[in-house]
């Protein structure tokens, strides 16, 4: 097996997304907590590499986007819990989770732009929110 370095890398916004999901699991799921902690450590290592390589500076808008992404993932988590607990609401919750996923992908694209990454191949295309109602995001 070749030990040549990998050429395909997870994008900065994808790492931030994965960090926010692993953070939910580290708090909510006790059985595999060590595994999530280790994943968080590895993700943070790679985020540090990207920040240093690209000299990314923090802005208030960048922090706001991180906050929105972290919270959307937790909203989706709760919606999926409701979906599994209350089968009569399965379809309604499934649609809402899908719609929020569109906003989540929009936020990930905004995070790439805010951090100075303009490579279109890294952008998410599934950004439709299918006319979501009652969820306000002034981004």
């Amino acid at each position: 097996m070749s030990d040549a370095p990998r050429r395909c890398h997870v994008s900065f916004s994808e790492l931030l997304d994965r960090l926010s999901i692993a953070q939910i699991k580290e708090v909510m799921l006790s059985e595999e907590r060590s595994s999530y902690s280790e994943e968080i450590r590895r993700i943070m290592h790679d985020i540090t590499l990207i920040i240093e390589e690209n000299n990314i500076k923090p802005t208030a808008h960048f922090l706001r986007l991180v906050i929105v992404l972290a919270q959307i993932n937790l909203h989706i988590w709760h919606i999926k819990e409701t979906m599994m607990k209350n089968k009569s609401r399965f379809d309604e919750c499934m649609k809402l989770a899908h719609q929020l996923n569109g906003i989540r992908n929009q936020v990930k694209n905004m995070l790439l732009e805010e951090s100075g990454f303009i490579d279109a191949t890294k952008k998410r295309t599934n950004v439709n929110t299918d006319n979501i109602q009652g969820w306000h995001f002034s981004l």
Binding site: L16, L19, S20, Q23, I24, E26, V27, M28, S30, R33, S34, S37, I40, R41, I43, M44, H45, I47, T48, I51, I56, K57, P58, T59, A60, H61, F62, L63, R64, V66, I67, V68, A70, Q71, L74, H75, H78, W135, H136, F137, S138
Partner: protein, 146 residues
Amino acid sequence: MTDMRQFQFSFADLIDQLTIDQIKEVLLSEEQAKKIISEIEQLEHDIGTLLHNKNIGLKAEFIRMVILLSQINLHVWYNKDEMMSEPDNYIELLRFSQDLNSMRNHIKNLIMAAIDEATPANKRSTFFSDNSSWYVQILANLRNGK
């Protein structure tokens, strides 16, 4: 205009308030959200000013603390809803909220320490419920910068 105030929000307070306003913007009515959006703009302004004036760099540890703070405040929000809908589990859920709030204060203290903003006077108190719960490993990881 010179700012004459001597008692100001800390950077950690501003980030914390931004995470709470972000919850409100999403979950409250459209009419209420308009006022929240205005406050969010003011918070972003002051956060941007402090980032610049204190020359704060971006670190993975800081991003993680912002994520954790954002989600802890949302956990508290959902937990309060559950406390109302599940009165039989009220105390257990209240204990979870107490621990979440302690974790929130702990993270704000870490943010203040990271940017040289911490003083004995502005340090937030933490009152965790016991030493065998969900937060123990997270606290240890944060302490070790993991």
